[in-house]
């Protein structure tokens, strides 16, 4: 992976970690689980970028060390911090195995799902920050509304006004294969929030929305391609893409995002003319 693509995203390696001086209120019997790692465990130090406007105006860095199994997920380590060190830490999570899309974060400077990063792959130290380009609401939780607004704009549902047959519409396995890759999007926003155009420009609809448009445009059952291509050909659409491939590298489902964007560009340039 080329680091030039990520100039702003190199780990900031905060020089002076500012700790929460007094710590949150804590009662007896609620002590963090510390001490040396048990046999087989390893120690992981997390530097977490915190933000809580009810406590401070600015974001701050906080450091926690936890003992984990090497094959634990980074999400497990964040849970260890939350449940045994500091209950105020806020993050989203649900399925914990890479399919619900809740826990995209900036991990060591790159977007990934915390549930698909293993402790052994980042130990002994890891930085964890919220994904970029969306307003931070608290700690690792960002406002997803602008992201979903882009998704909704591309009409993310099957459009076909014909009277459907009594049974299913037939679709050949090859036709099904044509849009298979872009059905895999979990709406985690890892791609869109790794895109420098998206950061710099509040208007660009972003890669995830285009991926989801692609999913329908290339589905043999769908008749809304023209409408979606119109939407994506305006100034907020696909031609903002500068092909930096950040999105493809960031996608935790391995979708060829940039390729999908290129296919949509080509559909606009050639097929509708």
């Amino acid at each position: 992976m080329s680091s030039e693509l990520w100039p702003e995203l190199l780990p900031e390696a905060p020089e002076a970690i500012e700790l929460w001086e007094e710590g949150p209120p804590r009662e007896p019997g609620a002590k963090p689980r510390t001490g040396p790692p048990a046999p087989g465990q390893i120690k992981l130090t997390l530097q977490i970028r915190r933000y809580d406007r009810e406590r401070r105006e600015e974001a701050w860095w906080e450091e926690h060390s936890v003992n984990m199994e090497p094959t634990d997920r980074l999400l497990d380590a964040l849970h260890e911090v939350k449940w045994y060190h500091d209950g105020t830490l806020a993050l989203r999570r649900s399925c914990a195995h890479g399919v619900c899309g809740s826990d995209a974060m900036l991990i060591n400077g790159r977007n990934a799902l915390a549930c698909k990063v293993l402790v052994k792959d980042v130990a002994p130290r890891v930085t964890v920050e919220p994904i970029r380009g969306l307003p931070v609401l608290k700690d690792l939780i960002v406002d997803m509304e602008p992201f979903f607004a882009g998704y909704r704009r591309i009409l993310p549902y099957l459009i076909n006004e014909e009277q459907p047959p009594d049974r299913e519409r037939r679709q050949a396995p090859e036709e099904r294969e044509r849009y298979d890759d872009t059905t895999k999007c979990i709406l985690c926003a890892a791609c869109t929030t790794s895109c420098p155009i998206f950061w710099g420009d509040g208007e660009y609809i972003g890669p995830a929305a285009i991926v989801n448009a692609h999913r329908f445009i290339f589905d043999s059952r769908d008749e809304g391609a023209r409408e979606r291509l119109d939407i994506l050909s305006d100034r907020t659409g696909v031609f903002r893409c500068r092909t930096t491939f950040n999105c493809t590298e960031a996608c935790p489902r391995g979708i060829k995002v940039t390729k999908a964007i290129q296919e949509v560009k080509r559909a606009i340039m050639f097929e509708r003319l």
């Binding site: 914990a96 698909k116 549902y157 459907p164």
Partner: protein
Amino acid sequence: METFTHDIVIVGGGAAGLRAAIAAAEISDALSIALVSKVYPMRSHTVSAEGGAGAALGPDDSPDLHAFDTIRGSDYLADQDAVQAFVAEAPEEIIQLERWGCPWNREPDGRIAVRTFGGMSVKRTAFAADKTGFHLLHTLFQTSLKYDRIVAYDEFFVTKLLVENGRCAGVAAIDLRDSEIRCFAAKAVILCMGGLGRIFAFTTNGAICTGDGMALAYRAGVPLKDMEFVQYHPTGLPGTGILMTEASRGEGGYLVNNEGRRFLEDYIPSKMELGPRDILSRAIIQEIEKGHAFEGPYGHYVHLDVRHLGEKIIDEKLPFVRELAEKFVGIDPVHEPIPVRPVVHYMMGGIDTDIVGQTRLPGLYAAGEAACVSINGANRLGSNSLTDCLVFGARVGRAAAEAGLEVTMSAENPLAQMAEEEERRLSVTYLEKTGGRERVAAIRRDLQHTMERGVGVFRTEESLKAGVEEVRTLHDRYRDLALDDRDRAFNTELVAALELENMLEVAATVVGAALERRESRGSHTRRDYPERDDDRYLKHSLAFSTPDGPRIDYSDVAITRWPPAERKY
């Protein structure tokens, strides 16, 4: 107090909730429907369902055969009228999903492909790779966006049903953005809030599966039905509990013990790996007890071997199994067998409803895993749960919409007052509480281990009595809870505390109902009562909330065409 008024409030945005919302929206464009969920709909646990959705679609299949398989699988505890409705409407639901764009796998001639599943006598499981739940959920979510009259309230955590004059007329919910309570007023409330797997330490269920809907209904006086029936899926990854789909056996995978032998020939030779989940889970535990299992850092396990299927089939039909095994246990199933052990997967029981999803509290409905209609009885067959969400989601959406059109809206004032009381309760009990020595994580961990010990695959009077006592002690400890987080914005610790309260509530019904059922049926296996006892227990259990814990009562099973018989394979 901010009040949102809608004709129908649906709580939960998984498959059942979304299907209900669309069904209600299609009844009348005059209806306004709120879809309230603690997570964005596509984060709901439906997303983790892998194998497929069962329906009699093929020319060699029939609804009657599907019904018989389901009833036999349920160990004759399913309500047969409900099963008949279910199998009759299942094919149309799968086809409806196709019309909405679900990317089902296809046969070479373009029809929806079906695969083999455990306990099903023919191929009847429609699938979309091995991420069927994901695709089904996204298709429903996408389709719901077509309807302006479905209004989403994402990241709202419902804490109380608002009952006025004996009728459920709304809910109180925390808006997670500011932890303020909002009041939702409605003519009908539908709970589609999923299962409770997280009351166990080792589960396939996501962090959000905390029995919230069941606890809400239970506190409001609605009984929870058949809560002793907890499904252990035979094949979860040790450590994380991540599911290795039954489709891996449906496609031809083997279960093998440490002697390299397909041990199921000793237990269910006629079906082998395609036996129902309860029987296979028991077989694996018995192999462990006989010393025929492997031992690893996360306990004993057996092997799931798919190597003989070859890389092409694995990549085409089971890509997610390969991805998960490689990522989380470092094993490539193309070259090595996968370590697996039984893992808590599904709650057959739930909120007692009739066959359109109505509860005995007027205005309150339920569907999906949170509900118990019951088509699953004492053991659910794999691939019936997604279809259950579709069929009964649609039924409950239509029923609530039709009923809602005839109800006049409750005056908002009493509801807002109830919601204000709820706001005060949360402040006093959690956010402004001083003192307290217990933490959410400690009580939750102890609960999870209590449930593993007390209501595992095999149960005894002793283990269950201990479980009842321990859950009661945990309830007492809960009163001494203290939170670190006193903030308003995204107070996820407050949510965890409220989820824990729900978990304790439903856990008490699970151990209570299991203690009282002194027989073995389906997933409920008593070492001290190894036989099924139709004379005493061909009945649904009903757990009612009382100040002293659950009171267990019973109701009859609906038998229409299939007289209870020995469950033979």
